[in-house]
Amino acid sequence: MTSPLARTASADELAERLTAGDRLALSRLISAVEAGREDARRALRCLYPKTGRAHVLGVTGPPGSGKSTLTTRLAAEYRARGKSVGIVAVDPTSPFTGGAILGDRVRMMELHSDSGVFMRSMATRGVMGGLARSTLDVVLLLDAFGKEVVIVETVGVGQDEVEIARAADTTVVVGVPNLGDDIQAIKAGILEIADVLVVNKADLAGADRLVADLRGMLQLAEERVWRTPILRTVATEGTGVAELIDAVAEHRAFLEGSGSSRQRRADSARRQVRAIVEDRVQRRLERLTAGAEWEQRFASIAAREQDPYSVAEEVLGEVARDGQ
């Protein structure tokens, strides 16, 4: 029995209860972080030293490639191997209404009654790149909660939504046969971030061709120490999932053995610091330049009474002062 938790509970209290294994506190702290609450940031600071233990697995690919189904199968297989699992599934927010339908749970039915799995849906809320603004923070919270594997499923991506590579230790790129001649769906950027390539729906005609095309592209790519494997799965039937998990484990062992794990996480940290600063500056900027007075100033710039460069200079000063 979980004791009730007021929605106004402070993030400190939530963090404390999260550490003690309270799932409702975890869930409410995720919301606080998503809302950009000041006290939630403080809680993240406190929890950070407790994180870094989970293996973070990114699953990305075009819409309809089977990411959700594959994620479900992966989670079930990890559970069968005795690992606790966290899932973050990102779906797009409508740019027109700000609303979203988060439908990934539909395909994750079999996991719903397993208390070793915690799954959270997130809407992108206007952020491009395949993830939501606070996806990394949510991964951190699941990690702090003690999840051994955290799977991040991106929105259906096109060709350059590669943010997932920043969040994940191992990035799995899922392709499917017949999406266009010459692997339209997984060229350039998205192919380059793949640590493991998966051809899902491998029972369809065209799978052999896709595997061959991918192999060809990998051979053209710059020689790297890690050789990206190409696996075939039929996620609806669970075929190839165990092999996929073995490939992820091999990648993890490679990262740890070669020291690239540290390098990779340092790169992530660099980008994360920049992203946090950008996010905070962005929020501050929006607040500082809102209101009727600013509307007037913008109008006067448009009328050439002021210039945007001097005004920007002035705002920059205020953003910096505001941060003290």
Binding site: M1, T2, S3, P4, L5, A6, R7, R23, L24, S27, R28, I30, S31, E34, A35, G36, R37, E38, D39, T93, S94, T97, G98, G99, A100, I101, L102, G103, R105, V106, M109, H112, S113, S115, F118, M119, R120, S121, A123, R125, R283, R287
Partner: protein
């Protein structure tokens, strides 16, 4: 504290064994268009699954769609499962085929609103809008 207003998070669930999910999908779509984040769970959900989804997704409200006639059995169990998880503050409403005679009992057990066949989706949107104002205050 953030000054931005957060979109209300709503779970749309279909408890029990009937597979008619058109109504649930229509409501999910209408709520999305009204600017809510709608977590859609699909058909054949047990009370435990619904409560668990509500906990993990930290929703403000749950809409139950039911056409099988099993509401008097399933709804109390859903309310009970929510309580067990400390989710007493989540608003629960329902839609579908629910006889008028059952409405008072359901409201007493904590179902806040019931929308029968033919209700315009705007009624549900309006009901949640009032709720959002209450949450904000």
């Amino acid at each position: 504290m953030s000054t931005e207003s957060q979109p209300l998070r709503v779970l749309i669930a279909k408890p029990g064994l009937d597979g008619h999910d058109r109504g649930a999908k229509v409501i999910a779509r209408a709520l999305r268009d009204a600017g809510y984040e709608v977590i859609y769970t699909g058909i054949r959900q047990t009370p435990e699954m619904i409560a668990e989804a509500a906990l993990q997704e930290d929703v403000d409200a749950i809409g139950l769609s039911i056409l099988s006639g099993a509401h008097m059995t399933l709804f109390p169990r859903i309310i009970e499962e929510l309580r067990k998880r400390g989710l007493d503050d989540v608003v629960v409403w329902a839609g579908g085929i629910i006889p008028e005679a059952d409405v008072p009992t359901l409201k007493e057990m904590g179902i806040r609103a019931i929308f029968g066949p033919g209700s315009p989706t705007s009624e549900t949107v309006e009901f949640l809008r009032t709720l959002k104002t209450a949450v904000a205050q």
